[in-house]
């Protein structure tokens, strides 16, 4: 337990600036919005001058609150995903690049604990930070939204929760993929990993062209795995407003789906494979 605590603390001490990128960006957005709001107030405008929902079809206010919270959460999810990918390379290869890898591996601590503490920061801690920040955003948006539309709080929080779960799965997937690349490549791991995938995609394309096969596109598949959106089908614009509640309810199906299960399974496989490569490296 003492070792795990020391390892986690060391990972935090060495990687907190990169880990907190979503926080810096969120803080920047808030500061910018606050400055805009203050300037607006100084000029004598109210909040409604900044945000207007006039002209919206009747009954759609619930959907506005839901989709705004979901969109903001998704945007933050995208930032967190990029941050987790960068973090994966940093936690695995940072020691090598700074020529201090041997110091860390010259301690009587198991590889499982070392890799576990690193992976915890890349995935679970990133998801936790994403959850806290996006919840804060959803709360702010819902509170502001409630001054403009008459929908209940639950729509904003449902939008947040659905996007948070979907976003977390994508962070898990991309973080694990980047972890695998970082385990294989010591330098420019994400770029080299993408080049390998590009190579495979080209081979698939050539095979499909020359043999008439129909091997599915790798990038299309990865795109589906990484996609952050919560699927709503059919589009809201063609639905009567009365069905919006049912529609929001049904979008849970896209979250609790086989695609999500596949994301989790692939993430676990990438994590184990990355750890294997990392463990079997030679230290020099």
């Amino acid at each position: 337990m003492k070792q795990c605590k020391a390892l986690l603390r060391k990972e935090w001490d060495t990687h907190w600036p990169g880990f907190l990128i979503p926080l810096w960006i969120t803080g920047g957005v808030y500061v910018t919005a606050l400055i805009g709001w203050i300037i607006s107030l100084i000029r004598g405008h109210s909040l409604s001058a900044l945000v207007s929902v006039s002209g919206m079809p009747a009954g759609y206010d619930a959907y506005v609150l839901y989709s705004t919270a979901a969109a903001v959460t998704t945007l933050l999810g995208f930032i967190s995903m990029i941050s987790a990918a960068g973090l994966a390379d940093s936690v695995i290869n940072g020691g090598f690049k700074r020529r201090c890898e041997i110091l860390h591996f010259s301690q009587p601590v198991s590889f499982l604990k070392i890799a576990g503490s690193k992976y915890l920061l890349v995935s679970l801690a990133s998801i936790l930070l994403f959850g806290l920040l996006s919840l804060l955003n959803a709360a702010v948006i819902t509170m502001i939204g409630r001054t403009l539309v008459s929908a209940g709080f639950q729509y904003g929080f449902t939008g947040w929760l659905q996007s948070f779960i979907g976003g977390s799965l994508s962070i898990f997937f991309v973080g694990s993929l980047a972890w695998l690349f970082a385990g294989i490549f010591k330098h420019k791991s994400f770029l080299l990993g993408l080049l390998v995938l590009l190579g495979i995609e080209i081979v698939i394309g050539v095979l499909n062209y020359t043999t008439g096969w129909h091997i599915p596109s790798l990038f299309e598949f990865l795109g589906r795995m990484i996609a952050l959106k919560v699927e709503i089908d059919p589009p809201v614009s063609v639905l009567p407003s009365a069905e919006i509640n049912a529609l929001i309810g049904r979008s849970w199906n896209s979250i609790l789906s086989w695609t999500s299960a596949l994301k989790l399974a692939l993430s676990a496989a990438f994590t184990l494979a990355g750890a294997w490569f990392y463990q079997n490296r030679e230290l020099s």
């Binding site: 020391a6 060391k10 700074r98």
Partner: protein, 285 residues
């Protein structure tokens, strides 16, 4: 006290087609300071890294009864390693570094660490990257010497340090770490800086162990013979591997059993001994 605690058997390491270690067999006992001497690229670092399980290899490495496999962390319950004092994590502060090692290493001796910290004058809140090379040396020594281990491996630890810090480095290790229950293996290509410390010496060249001998025995077995330059032939007929010519005289390291009438004899220094065994020029060691 000299039970063998660290052994390598037929240790061989290839980098592609290059054979970096070639059937290395070593037995290192307890309570010794052992020098591992070799030219650059002789295989010193590779040998140490194989002994620590950092590199995959052929043959075996055992510590006590335990066979050390590739990336076997349990070895560090008994062994501490300093590769080079620049190998600290420059993202951490001094305080974070000390806290980290004390947390992950069960052999940490807090009492000794506090004592070393008190005399080190290390700035605890400074990032390691901002420390001078001398301060880094102190920090690396602090975190290593605070461990209750029986084996200390030093791989060119003073590379890049000025002479004052090199001296301080070895004095601190002798004063704070070494006793008859512990063993130190020092790899270096600067023979003169460790000469007075060593009890055993290992010469390595092209991945092969050429000599592993007690220091005193080696210095008794070999000696430097000096003759006037006009008697050069009397020395050369013994085919010495190292010959030094100075104004009016010629010197060579020869077996002590060889007696040349009229020659002056003196104790060989470690660099001369190394070159007489390995071959090469004085500049190589």
């Amino acid at each position: 006290m000299s039970e063998f605690i660290y052994q390598t058997s037929n240790l061989t390491k290839h980098y592609g087609k290059f054979r970096a270690l070639d059937n290395v067999n070593l037995s290192l006992g307890r309570g010794k300071i052992i020098g591992l001497l070799g030219k650059n690229g002789a295989g010193k670092s590779t040998l140490m890294r194989c002994m620590l399980g950092f590199l995959d290899h052929q043959g075996s490495v055992t510590l006590g009864d335990k066979v050390i496999k590739h990336r076997d962390h349990s070895i560090f319950n008994d062994v501490a390693f300093i590769p080079d004092v620049s190998g600290l994590d420059d993202r951490l502060t001094v305080r974070q570094t000390v806290r980290y090692i004390s947390g992950v290493n069960g052999r940490w001796n807090e009492e000794r660490a506090q004592k070393l910290l008190a005399i080190s004058n290390l700035p605890l809140n400074f990032k390691v990257g901002k420390l001078s090379k001398g301060m880094k040396t102190k920090l690396y020594l602090l975190i290593t010497l605070s461990l209750d281990v029986s084996f200390l491996l030093l791989d060119e630890p003073t590379l890049g340090l000025d002479i004052a810090f090199r001296k301080e480095f070895f004095n601190t290790i002798l004063g704070e770490f070494f006793d008859e229950s512990k063993t130190i293996l020092i790899s270096t290509h600067q023979a003169e800086e460790v000469e007075d410390l060593l009890q055993e010496v290992i010469f390595i060249d092209q991945g092969r162990i050429l000599l592993h001998e007690d220091m005193e025995g080696l210095k008794t077995r070999l000696r430097v013979a000096t003759l006037p330059a006009d008697r050069e032939a009397e020395i050369l007929k013994h085919q010495p591997r190292l010959v030094s010519r100075t104004l009016g005289s010629i010197s060579a390291v020869l077996d002590s059993a060889i007696d040349i009438p009229g020659a002056n004899y003196s104790r060989a220094n470690l660099a001369d001994l190394f070159l007489s065994v390995v071959g090469g020029t004085n500049e190589a060691v």
